[in-house]
């Protein structure tokens, strides 16, 4: 049985993070993201979605959410910056794209778990490395394109998205003229993004398939 608690989004933003002072990310990210690290919403309307977080521990935890831009302005997204989560409970942290916008947009939400920790002193001649972990949940709004520019090089295949929309999908090797095996690379290419993906030397080419099943393929020169 799953227990859900709903938290409406708020636009507290950075200021809401800063007032808590000594709260900082934990080395053990107790809070867990359970509905994926990449969310895609098509269309330009004021759409809503949620990030599902789970506190698997026996203690109450506080999740901190910090926004960063992947593409375009961050002010168009409303989401809570701090979310208390009871023990062994899942919560849905709602987000809302505030305005209609037909341009492609991307926002990264860093999710970490707050802990109370004093700032340690460091003596001369010592280097102290503080360690913390977090998750990045990428939110995209826009349309998907089907076309990519493909150029072979010694390093692999260079994949460039020249369109104004996102490309999202996976790259496979071609063997016997067909898609072969599991995905070798993939992800979201923002407008203008370019990546080089390596393929096995004995593969015949690259098979790129977006999430709608549109295929772009290229044989090795």
């Amino acid at each position: 049985m799953k227990a859900f608690a709903l938290f409406p989004g708020s636009a507290i933003g950075w200021a809401g993070i800063l007032w808590i002072g000594l709260l900082q990310g934990s080395a053990w990210s107790q809070v867990v993201v359970t509905n994926g690290l990449s969310h895609f919403q098509r269309g330009s309307s004021q759409e809503v979605g949620y990030i599902e977080l789970w506190n698997p521990t026996q203690e109450r935890q506080t999740a901190l959410l910090i926004l960063d831009s992947l593409l375009g302005p961050m002010s168009d997204l409303q989401i809570a910056s701090e979310v208390p989560i009871p023990p062994e409970t899942r919560v849905r942290v709602n987000y809302r794209w505030l305005s209609e916008d037909s341009s492609s947009q991307g926002i990264r939400i860093f999710v970490s778990t707050a802990v109370q920790a004093a700032i340690p002193e460091v003596q001369a001649g010592r280097v102290r490395v503080q360690i913390a972990t977090r998750y990045a949940v990428d939110l995209y709004r826009g349309q998907l394109c089907e076309e990519l520019d493909l150029v072979w090089s010694d390093l692999g295949i260079c994949v460039t998205n020249q369109s104004k929309d996102f490309w999202a999908g996976s790259c496979y090797a071609i063997r016997n003229g067909e898609r072969h095996g599991r995905s070798l690379a993939g992800g979201v290419l923002r407008p203008g993004d370019s990546r080089v993906w390596q393929l096995p030397e004995d593969s015949e080419g690259a098979w790129l398939e977006n999430v709608d099943g549109a295929i772009v393929a290229s044989r090795r020169p």
Partner: protein, 169 residues
């Protein structure tokens, strides 16, 4: 001749499977205890004329569970970012990760952090995989402090905050 009719009532039961698209990671020491910091001490040599000796490297482990979903969240990576503090003069920190675990464990990389380089990809191509929770299990990340004696300044100490981020590739 009799007519035999056989009737069978079948109840269809929907079986719904809900699989969390998990993303879990924690930093631990060699004994699998939670780790929050590491300290390196740059000590002077015991022979006049000698260069400062190298500082022993230290290793931590990133224990993780990752269950991927459909593209584009079908491959994940672990990055490291300097989110606070300054490197002391003449000092850099090399982090080397080796992929480990069961499943699609991806591949590990080396990242050298300094005042000029503040981030890098430690592990990429992570799919559905898990590391185990015991001592010595997880992705070993070795920290090596690099410096040259002539570039050091003893008046500088360093507190560096690193964030390890599990994200979509």
């Amino acid at each position: 001749m009799g007519l035999s009719v056989s009737a069978q009532n079948i109840d269809f039961v929907d079986a719904n499977f809900y699989i969390d698209e998990s993303a879990m990671v924690r930093a631990v020491n060699a004994q699998a205890a939670n780790l929050t910091d590491l300290t390196f001490h740059i000590v002077s040599p015991n022979m006049p004329g000698a260069a400062y000796p190298a500082v022993a490297s230290q290793t931590m482990f990133l224990q993780y569970t990752s269950v991927k979903t459909a593209a584009p969240d079908d491959q994940r990576q672990i990055t490291v970012d300097v989110v606070g503090g300054d490197f002391p003069a003449g000092v850099s920190l090399a982090l080397t990760a080796q992929s480990a675990g069961t499943g699609s464990i991806g591949s590990g990389n080396e990242v050298e952090l300094s005042s000029g380089t503040q981030s890098g990809i430690l592990v990429n191509g992570l799919g559905s995989a898990y590391s185990g929770t015991g001592a010595g299990q997880g992705i070993p990340v070795t920290y090596a402090l690099n410096f040259t004696t002539e570039a050091l300044d003893a008046s500088t100490a360093g507190m560096i905050s690193l964030q390890f981020t599990l994200s979509n590739n």
